[in-house]
């Protein structure tokens, strides 16, 4: 029941990619340690080894930014559509690689192994392993892990699933998707790093966000300008009026968000509302102002 074809990737291919990313960034000692751990985990002889290696990874391979070159990032997208390693660190890539090594040709056994390590994972381990979601085989079978991640009260764990990650757009049901987007606003996280935000817009999400915006306005509290991005295609006269108000009296970021939303809104009155701020309308229509750069 998802709007997007699910990408599946073989563990072997994902491991090759991560190994290629890590190779130039590891000292010989770190590379030797990682190779030895991968071999032990792949052999399946020590069930506890994955958890131990995942725990030790930062002190063995270091915590510098992965900081991929343009070519390396492109290679990643070739292997796995939508893969975005922006903000990853070397130890996070190593942790994902270690998890992949526990896939010994049997999806079910991999899921058990991933469950076991995540059940006792500290905050940094959870972030790393959840960032790896798009690289794991059998994506449908680890949906409960992604759902648990966005349920977290820890913002960086939520964002490990929600941000720069193709997994939710491909695997989340509409209800899960909508909850994720609304929660992002709730915890004051950004929407623009969520992949598929425009493509997965839906009337039910728009309704929830309209209610939420009304609640915030009634309380005299600020509304993230990003909210209107998911409302725009489904906006009615009432929302156009609200956006017109924001265009007149909002902060700079709020006005830009309102202009972008009005520009994206099929109701005829939206054009007229947007025309009340001609300079802003021009920056939006020329593409100089877009959702990623309003705040």
């Amino acid at each position: 029941m998802t709007a997007f074809p699910s990408q599946t990737i073989e563990a072997e291919k994902a491991m090759q990619l991560l190994n290629a990313w890590l190779a130039p960034r590891l000292t010989s000692d770190a590379a030797a340690w990682l190779a030895s751990q991968l071999a032990i985990i792949a052999s399946g002889e020590k069930p506890m080894q994955l958890a131990i290696a995942v725990g030790l990874a930062p002190r063995k391979v270091g915590k510098t930014d992965l900081d991929l070159t343009t070519d390396e990032a492109e290679a990643g997208r070739t292997v796995r559509e939508g893969l975005d390693a922006t903000g990853w660190s070397v130890d996070q890539a190593a942790r994902i690689l270690l998890a992949l090594a526990s896939h010994r040709g049997d999806d079910e056994q991999f899921v058990v192994s991933l469950d076991r390590v995540l059940a006792a994972a500290e905050i940094g381990e959870q972030i790393a392993l959840l960032r790896g979601l798009p690289l794991y085989p059998a994506p449908q079978r680890i949906l409960h892990r992604a759902a648990e991640g966005v349920r977290s009260a820890m913002q960086p764990i939520f964002e490990a699933v929600a941000h720069r990650n193709p997994y939710p757009r491909e695997q989340f049901s509409e209800a899960q998707w909508n909850q994720m987007v609304v929660k992002a606003l709730f915890i004051e996280s950004r929407l623009c790093p969520i992949q598929g935000l425009d493509a997965r817009r839906n009337p039910d999400l728009a309704r929830m966000l309209i209610d939420y915006a009304a609640e915030r306005r009634a309380a005299g509290r600020a509304i993230s300008p990003e909210l209107w991005r998911c409302v725009a295609p489904f906006a009615g006269e009432a929302e156009v009026a609200t956006l017109g108000d924001i265009l007149r009296a909002g902060t700079d970021a709020e006005r830009k968000g309102a202009a972008l939303a009005l520009n994206d809104c099929p109701v005829p009155s939206a054009r007229a509302a947007l025309a009340t701020a001609p300079e802003l309308a021009e920056t939006v229509q020329s593409g100089r102002v877009f959702w990623d750069n309003i705040a």
Partner: protein, 300 residues
Amino acid sequence: MFIDPHAHMISRTTDDYEAMAKAGVVAVIEPAFWIGQARTNVGSYRDYLSHILGFERFRAGQFGVRHYCCIGLNSKEANNEELAEAVMDILPGFATKEGVVAIGEIGYDEQTALEDKYFRLQLDLARDLDLPVMIHTPHRDKKRGASRSMDVILEHKLDPSRVVIDHVNEETIQEVKDRGFWAAFSIYPHSKMTAERMAALVKTYGAERLIADSACDWGVSDPLSVPKTAKLMADSGISAEDVRLVTYANALAVYGKSGQMAEADWLSPEPIDQRTLYQGNTVLRGGQTPRMPQSGSGNE
């Protein structure tokens, strides 16, 4: 700047974090302990350890306080053999995680045979993993219990310069110092140790290897014990350098031996730490407001 090297923050409120950050506490160490009620299975123990390494560390970071852990099986729960056995199986996996600065708090409560068994096993674990140790000395029969703890630690070939004996008092300090251990004092409003007595001890014994902590938990205790003790010591004529040793530098020196805790963690943190979303200390950064989850998201 202060470090509170013994604080059970899982039992404390956000008001406490705010007050601690405002008073200059830059880092806390959370030792695994008895939560006021006995756990009945390893699952709840596992979740507890995950909690102090996960959500609690995140929560502290929201207030600009760095958070570290000690991992161990406490002496009270060592008396439940079935639980203790199962916990011993999961400890190595937790002890090697990031942010774990010691095995602790471990030691004796009633000084039973089972307590002794699991104390020794965990000393071996600390030695194998090259981690410092935090020792809980018993409240009852303290003097003999502390003495016995140190005998056993040396018997298991641990270096006393990597072991902190906690809940020390006037009766036990001499032996702790003489044998080369670190001596930590839990400054409690009504029991254990008061700030006045702590100041007197620093004057008598010097600041070397002495550490003040709050041991704040679910009982009547004061999360501001360390800054308050620092002020009282300064007011009673103890030098600024000695105050710094007892309320900051000594704890950093011994727990820093884990390789998991360094001054740079709070003096020059990443702008936004991806691991903890650490906000930067309000004292160091000047009036930054902590970003806590919005009302409504906290109880989702």
